[in-house]
């Protein structure tokens, strides 16, 4: 019998492509022959916009890259500019930044976990993850009045000190966090069907992951110990005691478990930061007009999606001459094609889920 493959256009309007990603699938029945991601539907030209904005105006755009880990993005950009200007950030601000970035990481991974299991069909798991994430958003709301795009971390520190009762609220959240992880492990990780759906699927070898410049949980699930927080500690990350969860196989399951482990480690960092946090100012003396000296700098941080880098070229003017963002989700998304090949249509969505792209970041 003569058979032929067919093309299936998945997205940009599709319930589970994490935004406006388009994947052109070539299918043989339900088996994937090729999965070609097409990106750019959310391209806003942030890099170009930034060239015509002053530095303080640039900062809110960082929040809008990976809108699930806004704090981490802003942290990276602030540190890049501070590094070029040689600004010393006050101790307390450093701690607040770490707390915010790590809480943001937990929230981002909760979305990752929830959407992954939701895409496998366990909608209750999704709702549970979203419900627990709400606690973190409430904490952010308390600290800066926003829930998604915060603009809280600024050049030289953070915009305002933590309000009264925030530390207690955060500790309360951390106390409940163990229970949340317990729920995830019981309800989702322990589920036979989820294990069958994810184990042994889309195996990525360590060599390939490195060659493809993968980063974050995708790289570490393949067993490569590369975390910017450890490899090149920025801010005050060298003061904290935390582990880098690693996978062994590099399949979808490992990619999920690594993220679960990272959530626990993030909570561990927040606990230590809360204990060590000193009193004091939260904003360094930064000139009103931010004009970094001419020069160029590459600074990268460990975002929830991976290795987020900023390449900043300054010509001494109040506007960046060139700001390039190395978006981990963009680079990781290249892997989609080779990971999907030979698996079934139903695997494409969980594989995409474990790559964890956020289209705001991919398309920049």
């Amino acid at each position: 019998m003569r058979t032929q493959t067919y093309e299936l256009n998945m997205g940009p309007q599709h319930p589970s492509t994490h935004g406006v990603l388009r994947v052109i699938l070539e299918l043989d029945g339900e088996t994937v022959i090729r999965a070609k991601p097409v990106v750019g539907y959310l391209h806003r030209g942030i890099e170009k916009i930034c060239e015509s904005k002053s530095y303080p105006q640039v900062l809110p755009y960082a929040d809008r890259l990976d809108y699930l880990h806004s704090m981490g993005n802003a942290l990276g950009l602030c540190q890049t500019v501070e590094k070029l200007m040689g600004v010393e950030v006050p101790e307390r601000a450093e701690y607040i930044r770490v707390i915010m970035a790590e809480l943001s990481r937990i929230a981002s991974h909760q979305i990752f976990l929830g959407s992954l299991v939701g895409e496998c069909g366990a909608l209750t798991g999704f709702v549970f993850a979203i419900r627990d994430r709400e606690r973190i958003l409430d904490l952010f709301d308390m600290a800066c009045g926003a829930r998604m795009t915060f603009h809280y971390i600024r050049y030289g520190g953070v915009v305002q000190d933590l309000p009264e009762g925030w530390v207690e609220a955060c500790r309360k959240f951390l106390d409940d966090f163990d229970g949340m992880m317990e729920t995830y492990r019981n309800l989702l990780v322990g589920n036979e069907i989820l294990q069958a759906r994810l184990k042994g699927i889309a195996v990525l070898s360590a060599e390939r992951a490195l060659a493809m410049s993968a980063s974050g949980g995708v790289l570490r699930a393949s067993g490569v110990n590369y975390d910017v927080r450890k490899a090149e500690p920025y801010g005050i990350y060298n003061r904290f005691d935390f582990d880098v969860p690693l996978g062994t196989v590099g399949d979808s399951w490992d990619r999920m478990m690594v993220r679960l482990g990272e959530m626990e480690q993030a909570a561990r960092i927040v606990r230590q930061a809360l204990d060590q946090m000193p009193e004091g100012p939260v904003m360094a003396k930064v000139p009103k007009l931010i004009k970094p000296p001419p020069g160029e700098i590459y600074h990268h941080v460990e975002n929830s999606k991976g290795d987020l880098g900023y390449y900043l070229v300054s010509d001494g003017s109040p506007k960046p001459y060139r700001l390039h963002v190395r978006r981990p989700a963009f680079v990781n998304l290249q892997l989609l094609d080779e990971l999907c090949r030979g698996y079934l249509l139903a695997d494409v969505v969980p594989i995409l889920g474990t790559l964890d792209p956020v289209l705001g970041e991919v398309d920049c």
């Binding site: 990106v39 750019g40 391209h43 030209g45 890099e47 170009k48 060239e51 490195l210 060659a211 493809m212 410049s213 993968a214 490569v224 110990n225 590369y226 490899a231 090149e232 500690p233 160029e296 700098i297 590459y298 990268h300 290795d307 880098g309 390449y311 070229v313 001459y321 060139r322 390039h324 190395r326 963009f330 680079v331 998304l333 290249q334 398309d363 920049c364």
Partner: protein, 153 residues
């Protein structure tokens, strides 16, 4: 903690790099400036050499320096040895072309496509050098300094 690449290299290797036409700037940034035609040889040496083994390509980007042409900047890391380096290639304005490093790091694929799309730098030897973020029929390369932005109607 990442260290400076040059501290790890032997005299012999440094002179090899210099022989390939590299300018080494060890102060602070650990910057190698490489002529475009030697890029692949230098990159291959950096990747495969036991002493450096820069096995992780962090980033590729391009900067428009106006009349001075374009700079293409590569960020390299060694995951195993914890060293980093920045490789810079300068190309003239009228012929912005560098060899593609996809053969060394397949992950460079989309990074090079993005640089081509937004900056108009061509990467010779790239398997599929097409626009990635912008529309196929978009005219011009928006991150170039001479790109005229359309006023909003």
């Amino acid at each position: 903690m990442s260290e400076n690449l040059f501290a790890k290299l032997t005299e012999h290797q440094l002179s090899d790099l210099a022989g390939l036409g590299c300018q080494l700037d060890g102060e602070g940034a650990c910057l190698l400036t490489v002529p475009a035609e030697r890029l692949l040889a230098v990159m291959k040496m950096l990747r495969d050499d036991v002493a450096s083994s820069m096995n992780y390509l962090g980033d590729i980007t391009a900067v428009d320096r106006g009349e001075a042409g374009f700079e293409i900047i590569y960020q390299l890391f060694s995951v195993t040895r914890g060293v980093k380096a920045t490789v810079k290639v300068k190309v003239p304005k009228d012929k912005p072309e560098v060899p593609s490093v996809v053969s060394l790091w397949p992950g460079a694929d989309w990074m090079e496509r993005e640089a081509y799309d937004l900056m108009g730098v061509t990467f010779a030897g790239h398997p599929e050098l097409k626009r990635i973020l912008l529309d196929e029929d978009f005219a011009g390369h928006p991150l170039r300094k001479d790109f005229r932005m359309q006023p909003r109607e």
